[in-house]
Symmetry: C3
């Protein structure tokens, strides 16, 4: 499978909550982390998502927000993946940041250079990737 | 109308599915392709969306994922627009890719340069633009 | 609090509309402007969002669309923040645009250079930031 989405996390479906138009689907990754996605009811049915099914979560790098200090604030975004900055690639307007997760997965984020400077991101630093559930696409393998 | 959204597809409303908070709205483009959007119930009512109404779909280029090979995988994203790469403009971190659809419309995607290299995107190549329904804004003309 | 999200608007919760999977939450900013967010029901409960609670809205710059002329068109996007372009920073593929709102807040948008040229954006020009409710993350302070 070849997609431009930089983040692809393979796991299995651990929960599906049905709504009229949208479903909430939770994947559990091999390392135990959960990824929550909001997808349409029609997609959920078409993919036959149910507990235990193999699935993967696709997330565009531009949908990822990086947190380095919450100061105790809490957020509505359902996915908070804590790790360590592995690499920062700077551009004119945007920067690409890799965050390594404890299980070995990497989350790639595109943020503005201004944010990169403000957070003083550098390799080795602790950082959390925040991803809104509605930014996650669910896929099922062939 | 002048907006920064690079993708604007004009069509007519072919279906509205109501939920408590969100509605699912489907547009049909002149070429027969469908575009599905998730918008709030309140917006759907305010715009008076119903079957047959003229409407357009706005999508930011940064919300588009490019697929070149699914290997049989299936995705929750409701919009899959198959076409041909027409142009690739490279930046330091991001690249802009134009995909021409059979009906003559063009989909513009912003992806990372790393993805651009990994998918080896070049003009003439078959590619599919994948757009999550929640990334689509619906508009109605004056 | 340190996040890479360029837009953070502090206000108080003025309305919560419940759905099965998603809730619609409206913040009112000190200047009187409203910001609507779609978040999951579970998050809304976990954050204890109710009328009058202090909260903030986080929006990635890449989720913001800029409008300069609607020609009478109306949009499903719930957040339209009218202001004045304060600054444009150009990159190879993307540009970063600051829009100052009447209340003193600034909205930062990442758009493509092509859009920046097409809209002929420059400091002093009137412009509206359009943000889909599903792109807004709600947070609550410690």
């Amino acid at each position: 499978m070849k997609t431009s989405a930089r983040n692809c996390f393979a796991g299995s479906v651990s929960r599906v909550t049905q709504g009229a138009v949208n479903d909430e689907v939770e994947l559990t990754l091999p390392g135990g982390q959960g990824i929550v996605a909001i997808i349409t009811r029609a997609s959920s049915e078409a993919l036959g998502l149910k507990e235990g099914a193999k699935a993967f979560a696709l997330v565009k790098a531009s949908s990822v927000i990086i947190l380095t200090d919450t100061s105790g604030a809490r957020f509505s975004a359902r996915n908070l993946l804590a790790g360590t900055v592995a690499q920062v690639r700077e551009g004119a307007v945007n920067a690409e940041v890799d965050i390594e997760l404890p299980g070995g997965d990497t989350v790639v984020a595109i943020i503005t250079m201004e944010s990169c400077r403000r957070l003083a991101l550098r390799a080795g630093q602790a950082a959390t990737a925040m991803i809104k559930a509605s930014s996650v696409i669910i896929g099922v393998p062939a």
